[in-house]
Symmetry: C2
Subunit: 385 residues, 2 copies
């Protein structure tokens, strides 16, 4: 995030994680602007920090984002909300900004209260560590990891002198494990909060919203965008959306590549649908099919399971006209067996591209997912025990 | 099925399965009535035998059901439909009934044509094997098995002299593997086809439709009910629905208990919802959560994953009022941590009962499912290879 001017970051070990690994991160917007936009989980069982942060960004302004791993602070009632509030107050005091300008994000196990003393001790530590530059950004990206194996960052710099930076953790908007998706994006472009919110919604719709690892939706998912205006450049909105989408796309791809237990990254693209919505519905039905996902784990280009999933949707198509290609081979043509599956060597490929041709329109959409593996079952059955 | 008067059955090895196990079954209604009712998969990619059989039962009459395992005859185009038609013709000729009174069911791999010669050779064999009595019923129930480990049958006899019998294969209406659910039910009650259809729809709604093993819907699912009227007794409709529901419930429970790779049978019940539909929506959201299902495999009474799933629904509830009990222990109370999970010993229990209390109404619904295990991944990744 420190690739954009006007931002400092830090990541330290506060002690939320028994492992002693970094678990407390802070991103501060030093201005001159303090514009903010955000999208949150649509899960109605939303965590305390989500309730808090919704209020913070409601006025389009925020000065900092504080994030902890090692505990989700979800399903923790009034006490949990008070903890998020206190965290914002402590950070606000240390930075000399209002608590109402401090976004709070948490990730980890559901149902347990966060230790208040750890927060009290940790805030001075993380504030003291704040710095500009790549090392500070990497420290923050590392401190928010849970089951992630690598930190995830992305940047974009324009020729006009403004840029966008971002970090992410988790394994999809609809996350496996308790791998809540948390994303913080910074920009020094000079744009008002209303424009940032519109651009963020548009960028998320084609990136994070189409990343569907296991169909499960976290209680804590948060994407925050802060604008410092430090570049003094006000880009065209369309140009900014392109840059923001590129950063979100990169982060989303990094999330999928690091999804818990996955052995294949799968892009399910539906083409020639009557609308983008129907293309998305069809792609998502396949991306959520456990049978399809286990077949890919078994390196089996099982187009029958693709068609079975497509058949559960209400989109316009003729079952006898469907084509399905897997990594370039048309394994299903006109709803029946197509070219030899022998041409598809999934054992040698990490990337799997499934293309479903509905032949009824001109719209398309891709959903990114991964396969369902023994490691997924292992990591998610053993997580809390 | 032979528990009801007026029916004969058979199961033989025709050669669809490379293993040489029984794979061709026939159930014949000798009357005096030939009433029939059926429900089929709602998957729009429906198999050829489903298209054929829909036409057969449209007039409320059928004389026989012929079923093969070893091939689904799905996604096989006009040739596949011709195969189902030819099968019905061959059976009709042998039994001296019209082809239009012969229901056809298939189960096995999608996308491959059934071998016509095997059908031609198999029909005389299975017709010759037709018999009354338990052994014939068991032979038929055995011949329709695919990944099933045991044949599944259920019977009900009334004091008035009529009865209901049934057989099933598969692992749920929304089936794992390619374990299409096929069910044949017989009765000698004297009821017209219109009543049978109404009763069958009602019985299925609370049994097979609420059995959700892995959220995937087969292209071949079929439930057929035939009435011979051989008892000469016309029961009250409500009484018949009760008997039919009991048989369907027993068969559905047998399907769940034999689901591919499962180590726990899970009943997810939502109580005190504003409607039965909302109770069902909430129960199904939990039953379809891979995270919840892997937690149960890990013997982890993870109520956080229950709440995460409940939060994705649109049903009426207050997240801060939700209670969740697992095998009698209230692990979540008022949306927060409840009694100690130590009281729940899932390692020692095959049966898991999850009860979600929405506290907003008086309606309830149960969805039956099973856990997501290494064996599920193994069986479904290796099935076709």
């Amino acid at each position: 995030m420190t690739a954009a001017g006007g931002f400092r970051a830090a990541g330290v070990t506060a002690g939320f994680k028994p492992s002693g690994k970094p678990d407390f991160a802070l991103v501060v917007n030093d201005g001159p602007q303090s514009a903010a936009a955000a999208v949150f989980t649509s899960n109605r069982v939303a965590a305390a920090p989500v309730h808090w942060s919704r209020q913070v960004v409601a006025d389009g302004a925020a000065r900092a984002v504080i994030l902890n791993s090692g505990g989700a602070n979800a399903c923790t009632g009034p006490q949990g909300f008070q903890t998020s509030h206190t965290t914002a107050e402590l950070v606000g005091e240390a930075l000399e900004v209002g608590a109402g300008d401090v976004v709070v994000c948490s990730t980890g196990l559901i149902g347990e209260q966060l230790p208040l003393q750890t927060i009290r001790d940790g805030v001075p530590l993380v504030v003291a560590a704040l710095a500009e530059g790549e090392a500070a950004g990497l420290a923050a990206a590392t401190a928010i990891m849970t089951t992630d194996t690598v930190p995830k960052q992305a940047t974009h710099r324009s020729a006009e002198g403004w840029g966008v930076g971002g970090m992410a953790k988790g394994a999809g908007m609809l996350a496996p494990g308790l791998a809540t998706m948390l994303v913080v994006i910074t920009t020094d472009a000079e744009l008002p909060a209303t424009v940032l919110q519109r651009c963020l919604a548009e960028a998320c719709a084609s990136t994070f919203d189409r990343t569907d690892s296991d169909g499960c939706m976290s209680t804590n998912d948060t994407v925050v965008l802060m604008g410092s205006g430090a570049s003094g450049v006000a880009p065209e909105e369309a140009e900014f959306v392109r840059a923001l989408t590129a950063v979100c796309h990169s982060l989303a791809q990094q999330l999928i590549r690091d999804a818990e237990g996955a052995s294949h990254d799968i892009a399910v693209t539906t083409v020639n649908a009557v609308s983008a919505e129907e293309a998305e519905e069809v792609s998502r039905s396949v991306a959520r099919s456990n049978l399809f996902k286990t077949a890919i784990f078994g390196n089996d280009p099982n187009w029958g399971r693709v068609l079975s999933a497509v058949g559960t949707t209400s989109s316009v198509f003729d079952p006898d006209e469907l084509d399905v290609s897997i990594n370039g081979v048309t394994v299903c043509r006109d709803g029946m067996i197509g070219d030899s599956r022998d041409g598809v060597d999934l054992a040698a490929a990490r990337e799997v591209e499934v293309v479903i041709d509905l032949k009824v329109g001109v719209h398309e959409a891709t959903i990114w997912t991964n396969d369902l593996t023994h490691d997924y079952v292992e990591e998610n059955s053993a997580y809390s025990t």
